[in-house]
């Protein structure tokens, strides 16, 4: 089975409910899209992430009401360095969509989505702990896996596998 080439043309993907809803709301918000291996990825501006999530959650036809996962990828040494990744699931229609927001390495800050989904609490703490990305508006942004006095963020690519010596 050969892999189908990825589709990156926004016009071809308009039918997907998540993208349709975002374009209807504000056509400038989806920066770029990719449909690869049956999964849709939408890049959005980091300033709009909370609003985008709220819009998709309350979408009338296909509400993406469930935050399946929230994580981060470090693209060190290229800039923008971090990509925060949101996996949303629509429980009524079983559609999935992946949102991404790019952050600079110098001051990785993004708005928290805990006000949209309280379940984002632990996920954002984990990303903060392991990547050092800060979430503004998070009720309790503390380390979750590592001890409170730990130095560094282990999942960053410049953090050695065996720890600092």
């Amino acid at each position: 089975m050969a892999l189908a080439p990825a589709i990156t043309n926004i016009e071809e993907l308009k039918a997907h409910p998540a993208l349709a809803r975002l374009l209807e709301w504000n056509p400038a918000v989806p920066q770029s899209v990719k449909f690869d291996r049956d999964e849709l990825t939408i890049w959005v501006q980091k300033e709009t992430i909370r609003e985008v999530c709220a819009i998709l959650r309350d979408s009338p036809d296909c509400p993406f009401n469930y935050l399946a996962d929230l994580t981060c990828v470090d693209w060190y040494p290229s800039e923008p360095r971090f990509e925060v990744v949101y996996h949303l699931l629509s429980i009524p229609t079983k559609e999935r969509v992946r949102l991404k927001a790019r952050l600079d390495g110098s001051s990785p800050v993004i708005e928290s989505v805990t006000s949209v989904w309280p379940s984002a609490n632990f996920y954002e703490r984990e990303v903060f702990d392991l990547f050092g990305v800060r979430f503004t508006g998070h009720p309790n942004l503390k380390r979750i896996m590592m001890p409170d006095d730990w130095e560094g963020h282990p999942l960053r690519k410049d953090y050695p596998v065996e720890g600092y010596r």
Partner: protein
């Protein structure tokens, strides 16, 4: 009066982190439960703020079992990650193997032969039975019903023997490989599973006789640790916890993988949203799982158990000894791995505890750029505070049992 700083400065509910308790006035008390507490099923620490016996607030403290598996994955070849995935959720190793293998196969665009798919379904349902039996035994024991534990572990032993037959290991099986299975199932395996599957529904009746109508068990579970459907979605519950609150979702039916579309099964849903509802969901799942094992045995296709992809799948031992090419492929896979086309996938499957997702990013090399495991226990643990606030301390034990957490899955 002297002001003492609190043991916990914030219980995670957004209140001031500089709060201190004046113990002469304040009627609440901080109680520490765990990390070494038998009912927390691992090293989970709960910080409870209690007023008498009633819980005002609670905060789970995790991270005691953090081993950095996600970081380790980035330093391994794709095929070397499989044994690591067993160690995440050690009660359902095959489910983790499957989620990881499916994700990598999706990245590669690899087709899996039917027999391997059916074997994967068979082993996954046995894994679900194994996991639910441990849950049922320990949950009942937490609530004072000792007998059920012994009954459950008797049947679990049978399932572990099946694991040992196919993989040589009872718990850390690593039986699934990228591109299929590690080995053909041994002779006599299907007959033994068949015997077990014929007997098992009677065993489930035994457990239900001990628990379902038992007045003590009902009093400990009915109406306890209630979670509404809205809260369950907002707090990110999944699996039987979500289905116990009336949300009809099961990825095996809604987004079939590995040939699940060929199986007939019902998804048990309860609307009560309490501990008893989650108990009923899981017990009904035990019956559905064994019915699926029967279907898998009856319809098991013939054929190879590995995909025809010599650059990804290790060759048979016999071929390696007789064919030059097979030996070269073997050497190359072992020493330099295999390159996976750049891209990313999120593969979610239904584990015994709920949605288990593997998010893998590939940069085109032989090592994964990023592997993230979305653990169902991690998601379910967040609902615990919601369930327990306003309940009694004794009910916390029932609530922890009802969401069926595995700390290896939470901390990774």
């Amino acid at each position: 009066m002297t002001q003492f700083p609190t043991v916990v400065d914030d219980l995670g509910t957004g209140q001031s982190s500089e709060r201190s308790i004046d113990r002469s006035v304040d009627s609440t008390m901080i109680l520490n439960m765990g990390p070494q507490h038998p009912s927390t099923h691992g090293v989970l620490r709960l910080v409870l703020e209690i007023d008498g016996e009633t819980i005002v607030r609670m905060k789970p403290e995790i991270g005691y079992l953090h081993t950095g598996i996600e970081k380790t994955c980035e330093a391994k070849f794709y095929q070397q990650v499989v044994p690591l995935t067993d160690r995440i959720d050690y009660l359902c190793p095959m489910t983790n193997n499957l989620a990881y293998c499916l994700a990598v196969e999706k990245l590669l665009g690899l087709e899996i032969p039917p027999k391997a798919q059916w074997m994967r379904v068979l082993m996954n349902e046995l894994t679900r039975i194994n996991s639910h039996l441990v849950w049922l035994g320990t949950h009942a024991m937490d609530l004072g019903a000792m007998t059920v534990f012994l009954y459950c572990f008797r049947e679990r032993e049978d399932v572990l023997r099946f694991f040992e037959m196919v993989s040589g290991q009872r718990m850390m099986t690593s039986y699934f490989r990228i591109g299929g299975l590690a080995l053909e199932p041994p002779l006599g395996f299907f007959e033994k599973v068949k015997k077990f599957a014929d007997r098992f529904p009677g065993n489930v009746d035994e457990y239900e006789n001990l628990l379902t109508g038992n007045p003590i068990f009902m009093m400990r579970t009915k109406g306890v640790a209630h979670l509404s459907a809205e809260d369950a979605i907002a707090m990110g519950a999944c699996g039987p916890t979500l289905r116990g609150s009336g949300i009809d979702i099961d990825l095996r039916r809604d987004a079939p993988y590995s040939g699940y579309e060929n199986f007939n099964f019902k998804v048990p849903v309860r609307t009560e949203g309490d501990v008893f509802a989650r108990y009923l969901c899981r017990v009904a799942e035990l019956r559905e799982s064994i019915a699926m094992v029967q279907q898998a045995l009856a319809g098991m296709p013939e054929g190879p158990v590995k995909a025809d992809a010599p650059k990804v799948v290790l060759p048979d031992r016999e071929k390696m000894k007789t064919q030059m090419e097979a030996l070269i492929y073997h050497f190359k896979i072992i020493t330099e791995g295999f390159a996976v086309p750049a891209g990313e996938v999120y593969q979610a499957i239904e584990s015994p505890r709920g949605e288990m997702g593997y998010y893998i990013v590939s940069d085109g090399t032989a090592k994964p750029y990023r592997v993230h495991m979305r653990g169902p226990s991690y998601a379910n643990l967040q609902t615990l505070s919601k369930m327990c606030e306003g309940q009694l301390i004794a009910d916390v034990v029932a609530a922890i049992g009802s969401i069926d957490v595995v700390l290896g899955d939470i901390d990774r």
